[in-house]
């Protein structure tokens, strides 16, 4: 009943469910497992379509438009193609690691969605440490990537995997620090509570945090301009150079599932999650995820790639200090009670800080080229 209501009207009323909830627990579990998997797979197809078509338009070409209306079935055609491809394992590969890597990489990407609320209380597990769980789980993919790089016994793969590990280790820190600002304002680690706490989207209260999270998130999931783990012009395809067929499709899926995950996290933390007028919450959620993803496609088509040492410098010398400053300012504001009483002042101050940081700081104190560190 509740589920049908939710789908039809979006007015479903899901309470935070304790693990020992009698009876309904299994229904809840089953329903949301199906929802999460279905959501991830369809969203991946959706974002692949958006990326390919959007990128086509931005690059003054058409993009795929032959399969189905407006090329909508292109992801399906792609999937069928990779399914039929031969699965080639290099002779020198570490067979077990090579086989296991896509799975290890894929599982965490899916698990992130366990704590993403699609509507009020509509999530698989309303962990009271939801955001901590996400931070912990999201870096597990790196293990899969490194396994792929190592197991392929290919030098390009190894270089790509090394770069990935270095990048993820570095970018985890600004990522987490950017989250902390939100957590301070919301006063909870639960994803659902964070959305509930957003009377206005936190992007207004945390503009700098949003930018930091967006940049660090892009680096975490190898999106351009930080895509140098699979830099096609340098190291062919990075860690998945030696993968073909369905295993490659798994990595492809991971890439986009992670992109959707980061978009969903950004949308939950900064854009008010499922909140929005008129439309049902889950639709708002999907629209916002798509918008964030579109921004990622935009940066991908616009910007060249940065170099590995610049990537490191960007994380440690630019994002990290900014994240610390952002956290410090936010903490002071929370201490002074601004988020509840002086919201407008907080918006003004934080936007001023962001403008100063991004425009002045990056011009005068930090330039990518100057930030050389040896790796």
């Amino acid at each position: 009943m509740m589920i049908v209501d939710f789908i039809a009207t979006g007015q479903g009323h899901f309470q935070a469910i304790p693990p020992d909830w009698p009876g309904g627990f299994w229904w809840h579990w089953l329903f949301f497992t199906v929802v999460v998997i279905g959501f991830v797979l369809t969203m991946v197809m959706g974002v692949i379509y958006i990326e390919r078509r959007g990128m086509g338009r931005m690059q003054s070409r058409l993009g795929p438009n032959r399969t189905g209306p407006f090329g909508l079935l292109q992801p399906v055609a792609d999937a069928v193609k990779v399914l039929l491809k031969e699965d080639i394992v290099p002779a020198a590969a570490d067979k077990l690691v090579h086989w296991l890597a896509p799975v290890v990489a894929f599982a965490p990407a899916l698990m992130i969605f366990a704590v993403i609320p699609f509507s009020n209380g509509a999530l698989l597990a309303d962990l009271n440490i939801g955001i901590l769980y996400i931070v912990a789980i999201s870096s597990v993919s790196t293990v899969g990537v490194f396994m792929a790089g190592w197991g392929s016994s290919n030098k390009y793969s190894l270089l790509g995997a090394m770069r990935n590990v270095a990048a993820v280790v570095s970018y985890e820190i600004p990522l987490v620090l950017a989250i902390v600002g939100v957590v301070l304002i919301a006063g909870s680690l639960s994803m659902n509570q964070i959305v509930v706490a957003q009377n206005i989207p936190f992007i207004l209260l945390q503009p700098l945090g949003f930018l930091l999270f967006f940049a660090a998130g892009c680096a975490e999931i190898n999106r351009s301009p930080f895509d140098l783990m699979e830099a096609d012009s340098e190291i062919v395809a990075g860690f998945h150079t030696e993968y073909s067929g369905m295993k490659f499709a798994m990595f492809y899926l991971v890439e986009y599932a992670e992109a959707v995950a980061i978009s969903a996290i950004i949308c939950t933390l900064f854009l008010g999650g499922w909140k929005g007028p008129l439309l049902p919450p889950w639709l708002w959620f999907i629209i916002k995820v798509m918008l964030v993803f579109f921004a990622m496609v935009w940066t991908r088509t616009t910007l060249p790639r940065i170099r590995i040492d610049q990537l490191m410098a960007f994380a440690w010398k630019f994002l990290f200090p900014m994240a610390i400053i952002n956290l410090f300012i936010t903490a002071l504001q929370v201490l002074a009670g601004w988020p509840t009483q002086l919201m407008w002042a907080m918006i003004i101050v934080n936007f001023a800080v962001t403008a100063f940081m991004v425009l002045i700081w990056s011009r005068l104190f930090f330039r990518l080229g100057w930030g050389r560190i040896e790796v």
């Binding site: 140098l228 088509t301 910007l303 060249p304 790639r305 990518l368 080229g369 790796v375």
Partner: protein, 367 residues
């Protein structure tokens, strides 16, 4: 505790997304840092120089198309210059103008590819590349009008060009000329001040003027190192002495300067075409040349400033219908000689963009 590391050898190419064809580099890496590279050529060797010895002078022109296949018109031009010098053929006025217009259009097309491919190597995911292909497409359309081909044109002939410009060519060229500066400004807005591009390319892969001269490097790569040397100005061939254009140079000789240099050269080419369009006379487009040319015994070297540098054809005649020897001076190969000095100590990503900024075509390296 110092971790013991050892350099490893990475075999880049011949099948690699950014080796511009089938070029291969044996790269010794220390982590991400390039210790040494060793280029390996020959994957596209077709023996064009030897083939040329078996063919009539006119029959070699299609072969030259296949040298640097993205600037075929220039290759034809250089070859025809050499034969005309050898046989003492005078080219009609209109043909000279057509040659200049066509060759400058080809230069713009080739430089567009060079810049686009360089930015692609920088990791700009095909966007600049495809934008530049959009404009190249218009140039290729113009070439299709005059020659019927879109890649290997085989348009120039010894003593002129194969046929007159069609009626619709000059209006179409006018249209292109009106659009192109706008597109060039668009690229500049998109890229010139791009923070990441500057960070990636400025100060990377510096080639000093001295090094460049020692390696006999030519073309945009040389001029980006601050040496003012352009065969169109310093040893004018055809009718280039009639046009007013500048030879831009850049101060530093890094990748960014090579990119800027190419953009500036496109603007100069537009200036030349503009003047040539105004001055173009009517008249025949081909001198009276016998079907089989028997040049007197001797030798000739015809060189032009092609988009990549000095392209030269050295022909030796023994008064037969085929050259006794045809040697080609390919700018790509000679510009590549400085690569090793330029990339040492830089990272893998820099190796790719330095290599991209030299702008080679493998068809020309492995003749």
């Amino acid at each position: 505790m110092a971790v013991r590391t050892e350099p490893f050898v990475l075999n880049m190419g011949p099948v690699h997304p950014s080796t511009h064809g089938v070029f291969r580099m044996r790269v010794t890496l220390d982590g991400e840092v390039v210790v040494d590279i060793e280029p390996v050529f020959g994957y596209l060797h077709r023996g064009i120089e030897k083939l040329a010895e078996q063919r009539t002078y006119a029959g070699i022109i299609p072969l030259t198309d296949r040298l640097d296949y993205i600037s075929s018109m220039n290759n034809n031009f250089a070859y025809c210059l050499a034969v005309e010098k050898l046989a003492g053929i005078k080219v009609p006025e209109r043909a000279e103008y057509i040659r200049v217009i066509i060759s400058e259009l080809q230069r713009i097309a080739a430089l567009l590819i060079a810049v686009g491919a360089f930015l692609n190597d920088c990791g700009a995911f095909f966007t600049p590349f495809l934008y530049m292909f959009r404009e190249r497409e218009r140039i290729v359309d113009l070439f299709e009008m005059v020659s019927g081909q879109r890649l290997t044109y085989n348009y120039l002939r010894v003593g002129g060009v194969s046929q007159n410009l069609p009626e619709e060519f000059l209006p179409a060229l006018r249209k292109f000329m009106d659009m192109m500066p706008r597109f060039m400004d668009e690229y500049d807005r998109l890229l010139q001040q791009n923070e990441i591009l500057i960070a990636r390319a400025k100060g990377v892969g510096i080639l000093t003027a001295e090094q460049a001269i020692n390696c006999s490097i030519s073309g945009p790569v040389l001029r980006a190192s601050g040496v003012k040397w352009d065969i169109r100005k310093d040893d004018p061939y055809s009718i280039y002495d009639r046009f007013d254009f500048d030879v831009p140079t850049q101060p530093a000789g890094d990748c960014y300067d090579r990119y800027r240099q190419r953009v500036e050269e496109m603007r100069q080419s537009l200036r030349i075409i503009e003047q040539a369009m105004k001055q173009i006379p009517s008249g025949p487009v081909r001198a009276e040349v016998p079907h089989l040319i028997h040049p007197p015994v001797g030798e000739a070297y015809g060189r032009i400033e092609c988009p990549k540098g000095e392209l030269g054809f050295y022909l030796v005649s023994d008064n037969s219908i085929a050259p006794y020897r045809c040697h080609i001076r390919p700018p790509s190969l000679i510009n590549l000689t400085a690569l090793r000095d330029m990339v040492r100590g830089w990272k893998v990503a820099d190796l790719i963009i330095i290599f991209g900024s030299i702008d080679i075509t493998v068809g020309e390296i492995d003749r």
